[in-house]
Symmetry: C2
Subunit: 358 residues, 2 copies
DNA sequence: ATGAAAGCGCTAACAA
DNA sequence: TTGTTAGCGCTTTCAT
């Protein structure tokens, strides 16, 4: 292989251990350990020999052995529905970045929305000794949800780990979990207000998901804005098609087949807005001349939609960073606290005044 | 707390150990271990008692201790530049899915394109005992690259782990690494041919990155297509602005300020296409009437661009799945092998014949 | 069928 | 300053 310098290299198979390093350096394993970890008084000469040996052997410590004796290692876990969702990806990136900044390892798990996979993953993280697990994304808050999250929280807490809920509710203020989320209601109210200010009165909310806390809050904000502007409650129309581009496309298509009793649509998030935009174009209508559309989240490509999408900016990466920052700061005080992150509207080109003929 | 059923629960702090489970079940730790792992002959009655105790105590095994004695655990690691890139996210999702299907844990790391962070992460994975590490994404293939990848490969191989290179070259056919990638040259040739067939002759390639193996291959495919259609080599024009939406936007903007000597552009990937599309619109030009644009990768939102983007579909999730499948299959044969995945064009609305006046 | 004991690789007392 | 020893939680011989 062209490398004969190391005559007696690492053992045939399996990793090099600290023992081999110690032997090569002519010291005991204890001394080798001290030299390697660096935080113990070791004479420079000895240390140099040990370091040299380690380098020659390409030694890396066994994290398992180290964690076993050292009482776990710095590891955080993020759990999302899927990594390919731009919003979740950004949250995960924020967690990853903040964790990396502190020298923590970050594991990300995807559940595909299946509670069973979520439970399996959390269990796995407990086995692995994660000290921080972050569950991301809205959910339908039923009894099953409450009981499993309560279980996570208690189990994690019992072993000194923390649980943070991002964009999902705590089953009870007393469970040892902390929640960090955006103010969905405020965001939806603001963007709906934007439409109202442009003159729209018949606005549909596309993408409700009854029971899902995040969507319910957005629907509430939408209704609140309507009420504030004196639109009769009967004027509110929410279609519960759920999230995702495909749902937005289908639901919007169906809506367009009926008599069109609306001039604007508030989408549950940017992906359903993407679907809606396409459905509207397919129906031969123009945005924003014929109908205005707004989204939610301001995913990275929202400005490349046709037309560029006016939407609510939720700083997703910051959400991820905040989750770890808050969880790691002030250990005792953190549990049970609730943090709300602000959002704001970004105006692009998918909103105009309603058509005259209306 | 409303739960007094467990009078003597887990120890105040720290995790429940198998020892506590054994005590509660009235057996030795050895028996408890056998009952829990399941693959040893244990009488049903005893097993039931142990399982019961474990459940009552909410016991989960310590993965570190288990890995220490069992010789590592099933863990794969994917390393990408950033998780928020749609393409990388899809590859990561593929790896995650395939790993999960086999009961493996999957860790994803982001480097931000920094070789140092890549090295740190690989080292960390060695410490953690990952049995499979997958490096994703094109790189500039310089000496530094070759030497560090050679090191990864040898170190991983020495401890029985595998290295797979996705979309990046192996430093040498002999290093114990396997490569899985798309046929970049064929893809670029096909999409350029598509433009040529529509009548374009003056086509620019936007997003070169000299030294980057993936982009160089695409440029080569672009040139090959030009040659095949009898376009003089002087007619080729590649602007080396690198990847990313911002670069595409800037470079296209500058290009448009000069005399416009092109009727079509082949973007290095969909993100630079997004930037180019925006720059073209900002210049008051229409796509595809005034200039045609094609992308590369077919990211999930490419069909929502304005206009919907004609691009090369690279099945990114399949790339991720293939990486783990191939690496785990046929252990000995895999090393050193090279796998090429096919791509195909997806036609949407960003290509038309060149304008008449040209 | 079950328990006692050894040992995985490492760090942290405790001695010398 | 360094080596010896114990032990982290678990699995696995080896006895019984």
């Amino acid at each position: 292989m062209g490398n004969d310098m190391v005559s007696k290299g690492p053992a045939a198979k399996g990793r090099v251990t600290i023992r081999e390093v110690a032997e090569r350096a002519g010291v005991s394993v204890a001394t080798a350990s001290r030299a390697l970890s660096g935080n113990h008084p070791v004479p420079a000469a000895t240390r140099a020999r040990v370091l040299r040996a380690a380098r020659d052997l390409d030694y890396v410590a066994n994290a398992h052995a180290r964690a076993l004796v050292g009482g776990g290692r710095k590891m955080a876990a993020v759990v999302v529905r899927q990594v390919t969702s731009p919003f979740y990806a950004q949250v995960a990136e924020g967690v990853e970045a903040e964790a990396a900044d502190r020298g923590w390892l970050c594991v990300v798990g995807a559940t595909g929305g299946d509670p069973q996979r979520e439970m399996d993953f959390v269990r796995l993280m407990r086995e692995e000794g994660a000290r921080l697990v972050i569950l991301v994304g809205g959910v339908v808050e039923d009894d099953a949800y409450r009981s499993r999250v309560t279980h996570y929280a208690q189990a994690l807490d019992a072993s000194g780990a923390r649980l943070v809920l991002c964009g999902r509710p705590t089953p009870d203020p007393d469970v040892p979990a902390l929640v960090v989320e955006f103010d969905n209601e405020a965001g939806a109210r603001a963007i709906t207000g934007h439409l109202l200010s442009a003159g729209h009165r018949r606005i549909v909310f596309l993408g409700g998901l009854p029971g899902n806390t995040a969507l319910d809050a957005r629907v509430a904000g939408y209704r609140a804005a309507l009420a504030e502007h004196g639109v009769p409650l009967a004027g509110a129309r929410v279609v519960d098609c759920g999230l995702g581009r495909a749902n937005g496309l289908r639901a919007m298509g169906e809506l367009l087949k009926d008599t069109r009793e609306f001039t604007a649509v508030v989408a549950g998030d940017d992906m359903v807005a993407a679907g809606a935009l396409r459905a509207i174009a397919d129906a031969g209508l123009r945005v924003p001349e014929d109908v205005s559309v707004v989204g939610y989240n301001d995913i990275p490509l929202a400005e490349d939609f046709n037309p560029p999408l006016t939407t609510v900016r939720t700083p997703a990466e910051e959400l991820g960073r905040a989750a770890v920052r808050i969880a790691l700061r002030d250990p005792e005080h953190a549990a049970g606290s609730h943090h709300l992150l602000g959002t704001h509207i970004v105006v692009r080109r998918s909103v105009a005044a309603p058509p005259r003929s209306d």
